[in-house]
Each structure stands twice: as C-alpha cells, then as structure tokens.
Amino acid sequence: MKINFSINNSAKSIEINPSETLYEVLNKCGFSSVKKACGTSSCGICTVLLDGKPIPSCSYLAAKVDQHNITTIEGVQQEAELLGDLMNREGAVQCGFCTPGFLLTIIAMKKELVNPDIQQIKNYLVGNLCRCTGYEGQLRAIRRYMEVGR
C-alpha cells in the first residue's frame, strides 16, 4: 500500500507493507537516529513525534501515519542542540542509545506542558528508560531547559 506523510516537514509518498511498523519504514528510509530496543513499546528508545506527540515507533503501524507529520531528531536539530548542550553539561549523555528518543520526548513535553512541576516532568518521562544515568542528569538538564525562552 501507499502512504503519504510528512517527515521532518518534507512530504513523502512511499510504498509500504501493511504489516510494517513505523520504525521499520523509517529505518528503510535511512533515519538511523531512530533505534529499536524492546519492540513492545516498553522502553521509549524508538520514540518519534507524531504531530508533535511522542509515540513508540517500534509498535506503531506505518499505515497509521498516512496524512500525518512525523518528526525525528534530524528534524529538530536546533532545539536538540540547545537541549543536548544542557544534557551534556549535566553528564546526562552516557551510552547515548536512549538519547534521541529522550530528547524528542522532552522537546514535546516543553510544548505540551505549561510550567510543569517535577512530578509532572517525571510522569511525562516514565515511558523513556535509561540504564546509565539514573535520570538525575536528565532531570537537572530538563529543569534548566524548561527555563529557556521563558
């Protein structure tokens, strides 16, 4: 089947297999920043934004993104650099495998939540696992990032 969607604001029309997941399609299209780990939407590694909201691409059918907008880390480089710099300063980038998915989730959170408290931030991040950092660095970086542009 054919789907039409936009990825990082550029229109794409591609032939897919109806059983393919969004992760598989993005991987074939060369978006290697999108990683896969659990395949069951348990860890958040494969997070991309669907119309600005984080979704696990490993278990999201590609057919469902027809007529929607998908954003990967390649599409938000400016924002990712700003947040990435803060993450780096707090030592929140270690093995890096969860980093693109984490950044996308945080970027979406900043757009979605107004003035969130620490509990709301943790709630928003609960689907993104990290095994290296203990989340401490991320949370410090996020607090500073939420201040930016206020």
Partner: protein, 721 residues
C-alpha cells in the same frame, strides 16, 4: 592557576550521540549482508535426538556445530560451553543452530517450523538439590568452583567468643538491561575474519574466535562498534555471538548480522549470580568481632563462564569493611540448568556486602547495642589486614566519610524524629559502608592480562591513544584523553581516542573490574611520560608501556594469601525511605553518598557513574525481580522485568572525599562498580528501620515485606501469650 584534571570537559562521543549519528552495531549495514536468528533449546536439560528442519528456500542456511572449523568450545576459564549444542542441551534458550538468510520474517518462519526431538534428562534447578539423586551437570560434585579461604585461627575465636550469631542471606538475579541489546556482524574475506560488535572486551572476542576457527591470530580482527551500555553483560557473552556469526559468514560467504531481540537478550544472556550466604560470627564481651565462619553459594547456571572469579571476589569481600582477624570461608559456584550467570557491575561483591552489612546490623540488635556504633567500632583502619591477609596500605577515611554523610542526610535529627511513629506511613534510615577492590582479583593483572598501552604521535604532533579498552557510556575515552593531555601538557583537542580495532591496538585487557582508569589509565600515563621525555616536534614517535606488578605487593593464588587487590575504593551511602504499612509499598525519599575514589579524573563523568550506579543498585535492592521456575524465567519480556524509571528515582546527593593512590594516574582508583554496591544495602536497612522487622533477602518487594511483617506479628502474638 592551571585547571585541575577533575574539571569537566566535553566528551568526544557526545555530539554524534546527540545528533543520532553514532553508529551502533544495528546501524552498520554491509553490502549483501545476511541476517541470522538462533534456534534454541526449549528444554532445560535433554539429549538431542533429532532435528527436523523444513526445506530451506534458496539463499537460506542452517549453521550448527558441524560448521565450526576449529573448537566448538567458547574460550573462557573452563572449557565447557559450546557455540552450538553438541548432543546435550543444558538450559532453556541454549543455542542449537543459526538460520541465516536475507529476510528475518522467513527466518522466523523456518525456526518455528523446525522440530526438535528431545530425550529429557532430570534437571537441576536449585543450589540446594543434592546431585546424588541426579547426574551432575559438571564434574563429580556439580560445582564449577569450590574454594576455601583461611586466615588466623577460627577455632580459637570460637573458643574465646562470648556471643555467637548466625544468619543466612539471599540475593536474586539481576539483568544488566543495557538499552542496546547484544549484537555482532561478522565478515570473512580472503581468509580474514572481521567482527564488529557491541562489546566490552575486544581481545576476549579475538581469542575466542581464533580458537573457534583454529586459525592464526593475525587472521582475526575485532572492531568495537559504539556500545549502548554493557555493565558487565557484554564481557563474556559477545564471544559466543562472534563465534557463531563468523561460522555463519564462512558458510554463506557473505557478511552475517546476529542481533538479539530484547526479550531474547533478557532470557538467554548472562545475569548477576543469585546467592545464598551463611555467616556465623564470634564476638567477645567488648563487642569486638573475633572471627567469622562463612559459606557462600552462587547459582552459576549451566556453564562455568566467569563464576570462579565472581566467587573469589565474593569470598574476599565477605568481611566487608570490618577488621576480623580470624576467618574461614567456604565458597561454591553450583551448576544449575538455567542461563549462565556472569559478570554484572560489582561481580560478586554486591552479594557479599549485602550479607555482611545486614549481618552486622542484626548482631548489634541481638546484643541490644547501637548498630552503627558497633559497626564503627569494628571497622578497618590503615595497616589492618584483608580477608586474604593483604595489608590495607593507604589511609582509610571511613570514619570521616560516615560523619560527612550523616551531616549531609541530617541523619541524627531524622533518626530521632522517625522513632516511635505509629502512622500508616513509616520512615526509616539505612547506612551502608563498603569498598571495591580495583582491578582484577588475585594474580589477574600480573599473570593473565599483562596489559599493554601505546601512544602514537604523528607529524602534526597529534597523539593517539591505542588501547583495547572501550567507551561504553562510562566516559573511558574522555578519561584517557584527559590523562594523556595532562601528562604531556598539551591541549586535549590534540589527543585522540577511537573505538578499539585489534589490528591497531595492543591488548591492554578487558574493560571490566573497575580497572580501566586505575590500571590502564596508569599505563597510558606512563606512556605519556615516556613520550614527553623523548618528544621531538613534527616527528612521528611512539611509546609503549607494559603492566608492572607494583613493588611490595604479593599474592599466592594457591592459598589465596596476600594482596587480592592493589587498591581499594570506598563508599558510604544513606537511604531514607517511607513505607506504607498497609500496602507495603515504599518510596525512597533521598540518597546521600560519599565516595573515596582517589581522584576524580572528570567530575561530570564521575557524577554520571555515581548517579547511575546508585539507581541500578536501588533497582537490585527494591524492584528488579527475576524468578526461575522449572528452568524458565518468569520475567522474560521487557514488560515483565521492571527497571527503575524516572518516576522511581529519589533525590541523590553525592560528594567525594579522596585518599590518592600512589600507583594510580593522578591518584585515581576505580569507581564504576563501587557506585552500585552500597545503595541496595542502605535501602534494605532503611526498610528494616521503618518497619522494625528483619530483612534477609533482596529484592525487597511489597509482597515479600507483607509476608515478613505478618509472620512477625503472628510470632509476636505467640510470645505474648
């Protein structure tokens, strides 16, 4: 003033990780690459009678034991584990064959259509089972390792003792759960085997593949891909994957990619050894511990793997931070028909420290004396001897560290206010003291590894660090670059570190045992000093250093006597917890920690290791449950095996208080493993404190707590009557 080496710098690997361009093994695509999936045993213990494969479509292949050109045994400590099962399988998930082809869906179908006929053999699942009733899995006694350790005279201690106290402690499995699952890609061209992989120990993989192929060492090349976390899990298991994948690549004459799925990785790769530890201590009328008699049993799983060395580390740590002059320890690593237990951050020491710390606490309670004071009265000081009779040469800062962590956590004040509460929610505090012996245990560095490090300077005066140690998230690349830059007094931008490729780097040993900074960092430092002495601008030069066992230390591996480690890092943790007495759920209110790591090479990386290690430790102590029933893990999907999320983590405050180690680079010692050891203990003690009950096993789950508390109430009721 010159910058202190501890001042953080930007890591060289951060930019590409932030941009998503870092090349992990799953991102590497070689031309004509084929995929492989593993056909696994569904029986915990059985003889393979027959395997009926469906007809293989064109371009699809079975790769099994018959395709191993050299030895079908993974090179490790004991030669017992095959790449592909021969005629017996010993655990559910044991690899029997690979199915290789272009399309993963077709491969999965072929695997599901394969029929294996088994003849069951009576399995051994528990370390308690008497092997007399079954056939042992390994040797005559079903143990991969059985050691004894003696110091002083235990019978004299027993004779002089006023009090004797005995306890049994148990710890469970823990899965490393690195976010990137294990994987390798193998290619074979003109007689040369190349393996790319998510690995910790390039030369372990190389040595294994050389034996697997039965070829000359220079015909095997191992290249580390960006590695998405490891924590010990990628120490020995990648050798298995590499051997299998290269056999497949030779057979199909194309590159072969073997990546594990998450659930598969959870179920079949190595995990932390479950343990049962019995401690009996002998105490005099002044509450001094005269002696200790301990017995350690580790559940090793189906093959020996690294169990013998894990057991040694557990045995040598069994006295904890206490000065006990008379010691007898018996240790066994027992074979069971379950996935192989292996390396995980701490490597035997988290089990031992949990047992001794909880035991000390319990002894004091039995003697009706203040537990913390009792523990402090018995701690090690400079000049005291270790369990193996080695001397603690450097100053031990434990008293100062305890004082500081109590100040940071407002310990005394909290302790007072928590007491006597009969609220539904009760608060409690726990304090753990621990060390980690840095580098390989015993004669490892001196006789087995003999690490080498090389620096090469090109005509532009750029210095490249050539070592086999990997960056896997912990910051090794930055640490090494900072050491070289400081030793040579050149900007860090002029020092390069790349992922190791065994065709380019000497064998500086594996990236394990908290040895990278203290041992390899020192080699790199010494090489830099040598290079500096002969530095000629604009000329290509190099310097190479081989490990020298430091003077004045000694170790005898037969009797386990002497310095088991040449340096020790220390830690003290406090955990504050709130437990609901109706649901028995607990919330960690805060963690405070002080560590002595000799010298921080980069404060930011150090913080990252500390935060991450503490949270992994809390997972181990509080929530990570993996149970095995009938050879099958109950928690075998990522939805069942629960690791801490952002919701579960408390505020963590940590500080360093350092006693420099003269043999370490700039005084640095090990850190990575140390950071995990103390938090599960302090957590368990805090729960004990909150509920006034005894805890003798981790993980401490609400359902377990409820059971303990209900039993306690019943017992209490009985005694009252």
């Amino acid at each position: 003033m010159k910058n202190d080496i501890s001042t953080p710098v930007k890591r060289e690997d951060v930019s590409e990780k932030l941009l998503g361009t870092a090349c992990y093994i799953g991102d590497l695509k070689l031309e004509d690459m084929m995929y492989a999936r593993t056909l696994r045993s569904t029986e915990p213990r059985a003889r393979l009678i027959s395997i009926k494969y469906p007809e293989m479509p064109l371009g699809y292949f079975v790769v099994d034991r018959k395709d191993v050109p050299g030895k079908n045994i993974i090179k490790m400590i004991i030669d017992d584990q095959p790449y592909f099962a021969e005629d017996i399988v010993n655990y559910i998930g044991e690899p029997i064959a690979l199915i290789v082809g272009k399309d993963k869906t077709i491969i999965n179908e072929l695997i599901s259509k394969t029929n294996i006929e088994y003849e069951k053999i009576k399995p051994i699942f528990s370390i308690d089972e008497r092997h007399e009733t079954t056939t042992p899995i390994y040797g005559d006694s079903n143990t991969f390792a059985a050691y004894r350790l003696k110091k002083g005279d235990i019978s004299e201690a027993r004779a002089k003792a006023r009090y004797i106290c005995e306890d049994i402690y148990e710890t469970g499995y823990q899965e490393q759960f690195y976010m990137e699952t294990q994987g390798v890609i193998a290619e074979y061209q003109e007689g040369k085997a190349t393996i790319y992989g998510s690995i910790q120990c390039p030369y372990y993989v190389k040595n294994a593949v050389v034996e697997c192929l039965g070829c000359a060492p220079d015909m095997v090349r191992i290249v580390q891909a960006t590695t998405g976390g490891a924590f010990g899990g990628k120490e020995d298991y990648p050798s298995l994957l590499a051997g299998q994948a290269i056999c497949a690549a030779i057979k199909v004459n194309k590159p072969v990619c073997l990546l594990l799925e998450r659930d598969e990785d959870l179920e079949v790769t190595t995990k932390r050894h479950p343990s049962r530890i019995k401690i009996k201590s002998f105490i005099d009328e002044n509450h001094k511990i005269l002696g200790m008699d301990a017995e350690i049993m580790l559940d090793a799983g189906a093959y020996a793997g690294l169990s013998g060395v894990v057991l040694q580390r557990a045995m040598f740590a069994i006295a904890g931070v206490y000065n006990i002059e008379n010691i007898k320890v018996k240790g066994r690593a027992i074979a069971t028909n379950k996935a192989v237990s292996g390396a995980f951050r701490g490597f035997g020491s988290p089990q031992a420290f949990f047992a001794i710390e909880m035991h000390m606490q319990n002894v004091a309670k039995k003697l009706r004396i203040d537990p913390l004071q009792f523990r402090l009265d018995n701690i090690l000081k400079q000049g005291d001897k270790s369990t193996t009779g080695g001397v603690f040469r450097d100053k031990i800062l434990l008293h100062e560290m305890v004082a500081r962590v109590m100040e940071m956590s407002n310990y005394a004040e909290k302790k007072r206010s928590f007491q006597g509460s009969d609220n539904q929610k009760r608060r409690g505090l726990g304090l753990s003291m621990f060390f980690h012996g840095c580098g390989f245990t015993g004669n490892g560095e001196r006789d087995h590894i003999k690490g080498k490090a090389r620096l090469i300077k090109n005509e532009e005066d750029i210095v490249e660090i050539l070592i086999a140690n990997v960056e896997m998230g912990q910051g090794a690349g930055t640490t090494m670059r900072k050491i070289v830059s400081a030793a040579l007094d050149i900007p860090i931008s002029r020092v390069m570190y790349r992922n190791p490729d065994t065709d380019r780097v000497p064998d500086s040993g594996p990236t394990v045992a908290s040895r990278t900074t203290v041992i390899v960092g020192k080699l790199v430092y010494d090489a830099a000093v040598e290079l500096k002495a002969k530095w000629q601008q604009g000329v290509q030069q190099q310097a190479e250093i081989e490990y020298q066992y430091p003077e004045g230390y000694q170790w005898d591996n037969e009797s386990f006597a002497g310095d088991a480690y040449t340096s020790y890092s220390w830690g003290v943790n406090v955990v504050d917890v709130e437990v609901d007495t109706i649901t028995y759920e607990s919330e960690i209110k805060g963690v405070w920690a002080v560590f002595d790591i000799g010298k921080s090479i980069d404060d930011r990386n150090v913080k990252g290791q500390i935060d991450g290690g503490i949270v992994q430790g809390l997972g181990y102590g509080a929530m990570e449950v993996m149970e095995n029933v009938g050879g099958r893990f109950k928690q075998r999907t990522s939805a069942d095996y629960i690791i801490p999320t952002a919701m579960d983590i408390p505020m963590i405050q940590s500080e360093l208080m350092c006693e420099p180690y003269t043999e370490g680079p700039f005084g640095a010692k090990g850190l990575g493993e140390l950071s995990l050891v103390g938090s599960p203990i302090a957590y368990a003690m805090a729960v004990e404190d909150a509920l006034g009950i005894r805890i003798n096993s981790i993980p401490v789950r609400p359902e377990f707590l409820m059971e303990v508390a209900e039993n306690d109430k019943r017992n209490h009721f009985k005694t009252k009557r």
